[in-house]
Structure formats: C-alpha cells, structure tokens
C-alpha cells in the first residue's frame, strides 16, 4: 500500500531520466597502493545516502574488480538502518528473476518481497578484502562499487531506474618487479 501511494506521488513529482540516487560515497584502502603480487588489501566503503527516485529501493552493492585481484572476501556486510525486514546476503553471482546478473557483492533479501530491496536510505558501510594475484604482468587492479536499485534488478518498475555510475575506489596496475641479474662470475 505504501508503495502504491508513493508510486503516484513519484510519478508526478520525481520522475527524472538518468537520475543518480547515491550520494556521499567514501572509502579507505589499507594499505594504500601501489600494490605488488601477494599484497592483501582491505577496502572500507561507505554509501552516505541512497535517495531513490520512483520509489526505487536500494537492492545490491556490486564489487567490480580488475583481473589482477583474487581472493575476494567479505568482512563486514552493509547495515540496514530503518530499513525493510530482511538481510544483506553475500553472493558471488546471482541472476534475478528478470534476468539481471549480479555479483560479486552484497544483495538485500527482502523478507516480504524477494524482488524488492530495502527502504533504508543509509548510511551503508561495508568492508571486504582482496589479494593481488601472483603475476608477472601489470594486470588491472581497478576496484569500483556499483549500487543497484530494485528497478535495475527487475523487482520494481515505476519509471526510470537510478542508473548510478560505478564509484571508482582504485585505479592502478600490479607493480611487477623483474629481477636484474648480475653477470656470471667464475671463481
């Protein structure tokens, strides 16, 4: 019922093409880059606020990693302040009913309607760990976070989706060191 009423209001007032619903994103990397093979990095990310248009609720946080990363491990799941009943589920991959592919990251499982996200507007803080692969090439080490609403995931349709761009957390490449060997000596 709440959504029905809000649908009407949002259709009249808030419908905006290519709107962005996220704000006040921030992160910390521990340690800071650049990174070498084997380095383990902890990422703390916070989405300060999510104000969905068209009653779109926040539904998933997707972590996008360059090929130079491995061993993605969740540490702390997002909170759900004043949100819908449900929980954030860590998932490497999930295909929603409408065919949208998600992962890896956290997705909200709404206890009332599996297709909806959470009504919480945040803040959402989460952390995860990644490891630089053992490589001899300067592989991509980019990290970004994408936030999907339940419009994008296909569980809610009330006009334009949030369509927020991926938030860049890190851009860089593996710092590869090639050994420099001395000349061969003979005793």
């Amino acid at each position: 019922m709440k959504k029905i009423i809000l649908v009407i209001l949002s259709t009249l007032i808030f419908s905006t093409a290519y709107s962005q619903c996220v704000s006040n994103q921030s992160f910390t990397l521990t340690p800071n880059g650049p990174y070498q093979p084997g380095d383990i990095v902890t990422v703390d990310y916070t989405l300060g606020a999510f104000n969905g248009i068209n009653i779109n609720w926040i539904h998933a946080f997707q972590i996008n990693l360059g090929v130079g990363w491995t061993n993605l491990t969740p540490i702390t799941a997002p909170g759900n302040p004043i949100g819908s009943t449900g929980n954030w589920l860590w998932d490497l991959q999930n295909t929603y009913a409408g065919g949208f592919n998600f992962g890896p990251g956290w997705r909200f499982v709404n206890s009332g309607n599996a297709g909806w996200g959470t009504s919480s507007t945040g803040p959402f803080t989460m952390s995860f760990q990644v490891t630089v692969t053992q490589t001899c090439t300067a592989d991509d080490l980019s990290i970004s976070m994408e936030v999907f609403d339940d419009c994008i995931t296909g569980g809610w349709s009330n006009g334009t989706c949030c369509n927020d761009p991926a938030y860049v957390i890190y851009n860089g490449n593996v710092q590869v060191t090639i050994p420099l060997t001395s000349n061969i000596n003979h005793y």
Partner: protein, 180 residues
C-alpha cells in the same frame, strides 16, 4: 694515501662481489668443480643451464652458485652457461649468458741434451703462456744451467698447466790420449 684507499676499495669490492669474469671465461680441459655464481637475492631462485663443452652441473641448481665439471674437448662454446633468475612471484628476469673457452695445453718435446748443449726454445700450444722449471730461462731451456738429470718443465696459461719431461745426459768420458 690515495692509492692505499683505492686498493682498499678494490679489495672490499672483490670480497663482496667476487671477481668479475671476462667473457669468454677460460677453463682447463677436464676441469672439475668449477664454481660459477651471480649476486644472490635471498628471495630469488636461479635456473642454470650448461650446454656444450661436455659441461655438467654438479651442485647448486636453484641457487645463485653452481659447480660444473667440464669435458675433454677444447674449443670455444658460446653461451655455454645460462642463468635465469626468478623472483618470489616467479617472474623471470633476462637470461644471463657466459661463453666458455675450454683450454687444452700441450708442450713440444725437447731433448735429450748433453750438459754443454746450447739453449733450446720451449714451445707451448696455445701460445702466450709461461714456462717454469729447472734450467728454464724465459722460454728457453738451458742444459748447462740445469745440469745432468731428469726434469719436469711446466707450461702455464690462463690457470691451466701441462708438463714435459726433459733429460740432460752425462757426456762421454774420454780417457787420456794413448800412444801405441
């Protein structure tokens, strides 16, 4: 004082990094236990390859230092020794190569001599080495200096040696002139 400091630095350099081998390296034919090394990095591993010259790695594969036994065929063997260093991530560096010249010395036989014979030139192959032993003066053997006896003369080049045997015999003993 300046020379003293220079000598000190050279000594420290040799102690720390070992000698610097000129390419090609020279070894003696059939030499054994020849040690080759590169500057060590504790976290690296080293893949050595020895090809040609009958060379075979005896110890040290995987480390920064190996010993090699060489074969019996002399000659120049390009790129006979190769080492590839890999760091802790398994990333290989550029191969480092060393040519090896296997040296087989020989000396030409001379003699036998009598005590009063003139000096004889000593000949070694390849040229460029030095002779030593009793009766040797420069690259000559002087029987009058050596005196009567059997001698072993040594030819040395680039750390390799070969020997020849030389004999100085007693001269004939002539009695007094008799008158029949």
């Amino acid at each position: 004082m300046k020379k003293l400091l220079t000598a000190l630095f050279v000594l420290i350099g040799l102690t720390t990094y070992g000698q610097t081998t000129i390419n090609p390296d020279t070894v003696c034919v059939n030499s054994v236990g020849e040690q080759y090394f590169v500057t060590n990095t504790a976290t690296s591993t080293y893949q050595w390859n020895v090809t040609g010259g009958g060379g075979a790695i005896q110890t040290g594969q995987g480390t920064n230092s190996i010993t090699v036994d060489w074969g019996g065929v002399s000659g120049l063997y390009p790129n006979a020794i190769e080492v590839i260093e890999s760091n802790a991530s398994g990333c290989p560096g550029t191969p480092v190569l060393l040519d090896v010249y296997i040296l087989d010395l020989s000396g030409s036989a001379i003699g036998p001599f009598c005590p009063g014979d003139p000096s004889s030139t000593l000949s070694g192959t390849p040229t460029g080495g030095t002779w030593s032993g009793t009766g040797v003066v420069g690259n000559d053997f002087d029987p009058s200096i050596a005196g009567v006896g059997n001698y072993v003369l040594t030819y040395t080049l680039a750390g390799c040696q070969t020997t020849i045997n030389v004999t100085v015999n007693n001269g004939p003993v002539t009695g007094p002139i008799q008158h029949y």
